[in-house]
């Protein structure tokens, strides 16, 4: 329990750092955001009074540290400010899209695991045999293929030619499958190789012989005794991959024209919609920190030798 508290405390420190950096970057961007925004809004050079009015209205004339404190205070209360272009709350904009992005991220991780775990195990058990060689080549191709390129490929084949799935947009499961495959394949390739290596190492351990010497069926030896041990390093990597998945989601959402944080962020950056940019980055950071915390806590279940937070001798 004290470990969880400790981890939460460090998470707060990390998020504080993220907020500082995000805020700092936005404010270090050259040019007057107010002027840029007004040009975008109205399409013509604004008068200096209009700029000044806008700055005053948005609180841009306050000292920088006041602005930061205001923003952080708001963020802690769930208020991330308002979009410059509509009256919409940034937090509600994000919430609308967060679901879509998380859906894509989780789906692509599932795709990766469904492909990678059985392939990796089969590869390890049949080391050096055709199934192993095939999966190794497959992994090499998977890891080398850029996800946006695979995305277009999938659209051309399965959406345009075969008409099996919609080309773009969001909605039910049929909208999710192609983006999830496009995003999950690269991760599947990495995880396959990891499962294979990890499994090969575990299969050589003496406790696997112990399990066999009890008269257990080979299937149970592999899927109960070996797999649980082999998954420990895999969980670490999958947890870290979540960051890359969020990253990749930005690209994939554009390829498939899916609403989501990626599209929201890119649009906001082009429009200099700073409250939205800050909000999205902060939410992404929170997601990443929380998922890593969950990964660390899951170790305790997977590997009882790990005593979280207790000093190792």
């Amino acid at each position: 329990m004290s470990y969880v508290l400790y981890r939460l405390a460090t998470a707060v420190v990390v998020l504080f750092g993220v907020s500082l950096v995000t805020f700092g970057f936005v404010h270090a961007t050259p040019g007057d955001p107010a002027e840029t925004i007004l040009i975008e809004q109205t399409g013509q050079q604004p008068s200096s009074e209009a700029v000044e009015e806008f700055r005053e209205a948005e609180g841009m004339n306050d000292p920088v540290h006041h602005q930061y404190v205001d923003w952080v205070t708001g963020a802690v209360h769930g208020d991330l400010g308002q979009s410059y272009f509509s009256d919409a709350e940034v937090s509600s904009l994000i919430l609308d899209d967060l679901y879509n992005t998380l859906e894509l991220a989780v789906a692509s991780i599932l795709v990766a695991l469904v492909i990678a775990v059985p392939t990796g195990i089969a590869s390890a058990i049949h080391q050096g045999q055709p199934i192993d060689v095939t999966s190794q080549i497959g992994a090499l191709i998977g890891v080398s293929m850029p996800n946006f390129w695979l995305g277009y490929l999938l659209i051309i084949v399965f959406a345009l030619n075969l008409n099996m799935f919609p080309v773009a947009g969001s909605g039910g499961l049929e909208h999710l499958i192609l983006p999830a495959i496009a995003l999950g394949t690269g991760m599947a390739a990495i995880v396959t190789r990891l499962v294979r290596t990890s499994m090969l190492e575990v299969i050589d351990q003496e406790y696997i012989d112990t399990a066999r010497s009890k008269g257990l069926k080979e299937r149970i030896v592999v899927y109960k005794h070996a797999l649980r041990n082999a998954l420990i390093p895999v969980v670490t990597v999958v947890g870290l991959q979540l960051g890359f998945v969020l990253n990749g989601a930005v690209v994939i959402e554009i390829v498939f024209q899916r609403p989501g944080l990626g599209n929201l962020l890119v649009d906001a950056i082009f429009a200099r919609n700073y409250p939205v940019v800050q909000g999205v980055v902060l939410v992404a950071a929170v997601t990443f920190v929380v998922s890593n915390l969950l990964v660390d806590l899951s170790y305790r279940y997977l590997d009882p030798r790990i005593k979280l937070g207790e000093s190792q001798q």
């Binding site: 004290s2 470990y3 400790y6 351990q205 003496e206 406790y207 012989d209 112990t210 399990a211 066999r212 010497s213 009890k214 008269g215 257990l216 069926k217 299937r219 149970i220 899927y223 109960k224 005794h225 649980r228 041990n229 997977l302 590997d303 009882p304 030798r305 937070g309 207790e310 000093s311 001798q313």
Partner: protein
Amino acid sequence: MSDPLLSVENLHTQFRTPEGPVNAVNGATFTVEAGEIVGLVGESGSGKSVTARSIMGLESPGEIVEGDIVFDSVDLTEAPEATRRRARGTSMSMVFQDPNTSLNPVFDVGEQIAESLKIHESPDSQSLLDYLHVPLVSDRREWQEHRKRAIELMEQVGIADADDRVGHYPHEFSGGMRQRAMLAIALAAQPELLIADEPTTALDTTTQARILDRIRDLRDAFDTAVLLITHDLGVVAETCDRVVVLYGGEVMESGPVERVLSDPQHPYTQGLLDCLPRRSDRGSPLPAIEGSVLDSGNSTPGCPFASRCEYATEACRVSDPPTIRPERSRRVVCGELDTVRQDAESERNAAQPRVDGGDRSIERASQERHEADVQTSGTIGKDGTGRASGWENPESRSDDTTVESETPLLEIDGVSKTFDVTGSRLERVFGQRQLLGAVDEISFRIDAGETVGLVGESGSGKSTLASVIAGLESPTEGEVRFDGATVGTVEERTPEQLSEFGFVFQNPTESLNPRMTVRETLAEPLRERNWETEQQDRRIAELLELVGLSSKHAARRPHELSGGQLQRVAIARAIALEPSVVILDEPVSALDVSIQAKILNLLLELQERLGLTYLVISHDLEVVHHIADRVLVMYLGKVMERGPANALFESPAHPYTEALFEAIPTLEDDGTAQPLSGAIPSPVDPPDGCVFHTRCPMAEEQCRREEPSFETIAGSHSRCHFAEDVTEEPAEPTIEPDNP
């Protein structure tokens, strides 16, 4: 006569290697009767483990290419995999060597035992989902039943608080407890045959004695047959009914234990018996079997031992030796048995006047023969014997009191070492610290040229003390003085001081960098002292010669060398900078007896030639007895007894020392000695008074309250209130229940 339970007939198990197929087992033939304990002995590489695995059906990646394994009248070599699996689950079990690696770290011990029980009950209906405890699919009630039975089994193998311990994971158990858990897993199948592959090699002697006890008890209770694989002939003598001696994957000799060990017929069996330190005089070179186990047990005819056998003739090398039955139930596979016997006979006659007690004369005679051989032909002989004669008067050597005036080479003055094992950060912040006292105010001195032995069970603080002396750990209190000057940790020592210490670790495969060649390993300390390349090369050649390796070994990497050769390299590295003190932490406990003998000989020879001072740490009292002048017995970080080796070994003046002796399996033992009960208490919370009182057979009220000071008894110093009683009457060890 009914069929034996297990009959192995002309077994050949083959491994494919890049150099072609190798027969690890090459025609082994032996039987195991129901209720019999059979010892399978031989050096590493003689095919013991592969034989055991072949019986269990775990020989993969090897392959049984010839021969039969008939178990319960079924030939397992021809049976389908399902039959073999069912045999494993229901009628044969195996205990592996290293309990640290043979239990699955992610399942609790109860689960691992329960699984075994469940397989035994229904070996053919194993469903993955059931075994994964998937809710609804899995029969929870049945698993709970098995878990309850698991607790009973844990109690049966001597795990206290089984109710509580059933949910613990392997890493929460001590080594000995893990091996008991492993034993419980094996026994859950109610096997007719239990195969134990070096079950006690990774454990210290007191724990070993108790595990072997359990195995004997279980045989008595359930009439289980046991195939006990070991390289320790003492274990065989104490535990087994019959012994099978394996070499090169073939049986050299087999027969009843007392006959084979008292009257070994095969030259290899004789060699194995001669290497044991306990059979030779202190400090004299041990007879060793020349050469090493062949890498490839190839399938060419001829006796596999011929290349190392002093009796070998041309016939031995080209044709298979005959099997001779010198008496009923004994078999010896040797072509020159008549010569071997004649030789033994003539020596027995020659040796007769000097031998007291007739039945051991042959062993002594053969030992003398070996010694004679070594003296005339070996490189060790002259130095070793010269030294041995000087050792016969232990009184002339250092006794603590006689040399007090001079400055000792090494002085350990009131050294304590505590570790902070406080559990959580919060407790640390609030100052609730838990301290583990690994070493507690130890003082002693080592004079130039002597050997001090440090003995005690695992967890007694021996290795921590050695690390402090070597400067790898800093003492919490006290100091280490070398040549009168205080030396701190490695960082604080001057290059000169650093080069005065050499360190040899237990396991050479782990202490040598696998990526470095022998030359690079040896050059490293030299380079550190800025030796010229030319000087380095000369020194490396010299070092290799000193440790009995040749220049061709210089370019090899650790995986290309055998265990004995690796330890030689480790020793060469330790002496590279001509240190005056070499600290040896369990230098031979990872090695086979025959190699152990050679390494001990080498250490004695080097000491003689280079005037080295040794600090030898070992849990093997025979090894310490063999090479040490003075001995310190440690328990829970404190010295319990110290004194000259002879006095201490002849009449121990502390009950703990005595208990350690009791635990050693010896060839003469019949398994009646009572091993020390209980485990070492936690050093975080050591007992009050005398730290040993919780396990001491002599403990009285006084021991619980007062910590004893050192008493001087017959040249030894003993930290015991009743030291005099210990030496006077050999204490009758009381029988106590296992209570870890």
